[in-house]
């Protein structure tokens, strides 16, 4: 299992895919900073409730790109046929899927840290530069970083599970983007509180008394729901990989 994990980490390092995703994430976080931190009038960022939504975007972008890392870890193998040498050298498939989940989860942690760290830094610097009183507490920052990392790592495993199920790279990536950026916003908020994306946000942001409150649940609900989604996706990805023909 250690061998498979080292192999998966090498696969991530040895192409430019992960770097390209990291660059894309930088771009999207930058856009989020422009839209949510730099553009709004100072009066729109007067209270803690007004200031927290910037953290939401950073967290969501981190989860999205971590999920893409996980999805690509498995769909690239089907796209380029490397799944055959992979399964030939490790014909028992469970260690392969476990290693992909673990390696993607570790890379997801880094993506979560980078996305939320960039957002936290931008908010701090921009508020200071614009003379806006920063009402975010140190526990808000800590929860953003820790929760954002955990949410991204769990979403990376969701990406592996969904990728193992669908195998097709384009439909997997489009599906994940559509879910996180579009579908969850269309779901009525009393249901949306329990969707995997909003459960991830609940890990990173205290949503009570903010404009996020309708659709973002409490830390406890998020900490229960998102690991359940991740476990379900991992098990589905593992089960569907066990016996399907790798042709």
């Amino acid at each position: 299992m250690i061998g498979q994990l080292r192999a998966e980490l090498l696969k991530q390092r040895s192409t430019q895919t992960v770097l390209a995703l990291l660059a894309g994430m930088f771009g999207l976080v930058g856009l989020a900073i422009a839209l949510h931190v730099l553009t709004p009038a100072a009066s729109e960022l007067a209270t803690r409730s007004d200031q927290l939504p910037a953290f939401e975007v950073g967290t969501r972008v981190g989860m999205l790109f971590a999920a893409l890392v996980g999805a690509l870890a498995i769909t690239a193998e089907f796209r380029y046929g490397t799944i055959r040498p992979t399964f030939l050298v490790t014909p028992r498939r469970t260690p392969v899927i476990t290693a992909k989940l673990t390696a993607s989860g570790l890379t997801g942690l880094v993506f979560g840290l980078v996305a939320t760290g960039l957002m936290a830094g931008a908010v701090t610097v921009a508020f200071a530069a614009r003379g806006i009183d920063n009402h975010l507490t140190s526990s808000d920052y800590l929860r953003l970083l820790a929760g954002g990392m955990a949410a991204a790592a769990l979403w990376a495993t969701i990406g592996v599970g969904v990728g193992a199920l669908f195998r097709n790279q384009v439909s997997t990536l489009v599906g994940i983007c559509a879910w996180l950026l579009l579908v969850e916003h269309l779901i009525p908020s009393d249901v949306a509180r329990y969707t995997p994306g909003n459960a991830g946000l609940a890990l990173a942001i205290q949503a009570t008394h903010t404009q996020l409150a309708p659709s973002v649940s409490t830390l406890a609900v998020g900490a229960l729901a998102l690991p359940l989604y991740a476990a379900a996706a991992s098990v589905i990805g593992w089960r569907t990989s066990l016996h399907r023909d790798a042709v």
Binding site: L10, L88, V89, D245
Partner: protein
């Protein structure tokens, strides 16, 4: 292998096949396109599930072997590489997964004469180089048995001769090679024995000189047995 069946929908690709390979020999696995060669090899190597029966290799299913990559090396497609990854990193990932020391990567690169290109991305490789990189991955575990699906496809004459010499030397060390092919002229020069399949059945197997009279070429035998139909 024993009592193996593989269906794709209503099509039976493999029907009850058993065969034995002798150590120190190269066996050619022949049959028309669509005869089931690739399906058999995929089922044998655990990439596809049989519809009925069990594919056994060295007495067990491939996935139940203790150290599969050190028993069998296989190449089932010639281009199973990430185009953006270097040949060396492809081999390192395979070696790590099989817990083979990374020093072996340089050895197999030298064996297939890819040392100079090892750090280039695979997308810059010719087809012949990709065939050799696949072979290098199969050789990492220093296996007893090599299973190669259409290894001569797309090779130029120098590449074909290189492959033939390589496989003969490999067998001369007391190891075993199974190659599928539809290139009869090439097979006749490389293999000790052949196994001919048609529509999922073995229709003939044995040493080349035992299969027909002396006047019969491999092509005659093959076309007789497979009824020469174009598929």
């Amino acid at each position: 292998m024993s009592s193996l069946t593989k269906r794709y929908g209503d099509v039976v690709a493999i029907d009850e096949i058993t065969f034995t390979l002798d150590a120190g020999t190269v066996t050619g696995f022949l049959g028309p396109n669509g005869a089931g060669k690739t399906s058999i090899l995929k089922v044998l190597m655990g990439l596809a599930e049989p519809s009925a029966g069990t594919a056994l290799i060295f007495g067990s299913r491939y996935r139940d072997l203790d150290d599969p990559a050190r028993r069998v090396g296989a190449v089932l497609e010639s281009n199973d590489f990430h185009p953006g990854r270097s040949g060396r990193n492809h081999l390192r990932a395979v070696a790590l997964a099989a817990e083979i020391p990374l020093g072996r990567v340089d050895e197999v690169l030298a064996l297939v004469e890819l040392g100079k290109a090892a750090d280039r991305r695979v997308k810059t490789y010719s087809l012949g180089m990709r065939q050799r990189l696949g072979l290098a991955a199969a050789l990492l575990g220093d296996p007893e048995l090599l299973v190669l699906d259409e290894p001569a496809n797309g090779l130029d004459p120098a590449g074909v001769r290189w492959l033939r010499t390589f496989l003969r030397n490999f067998a001369a060390q007391g190891r075993t090679v199974l190659i599928s092919s539809h290139l009869l002229a090439e097979v006749a020069q490389t293999v000790d024995q052949v196994m001919i399949i048609d529509r999922g059945h073995v229709v003939a197997s044995g040493r080349l000189d035992e299969l027909g009279g002396h006047s019969q070429t491999l092509e005659d035998i093959y076309l007789d047995l497979t009824e020469g139909e174009a598929t």
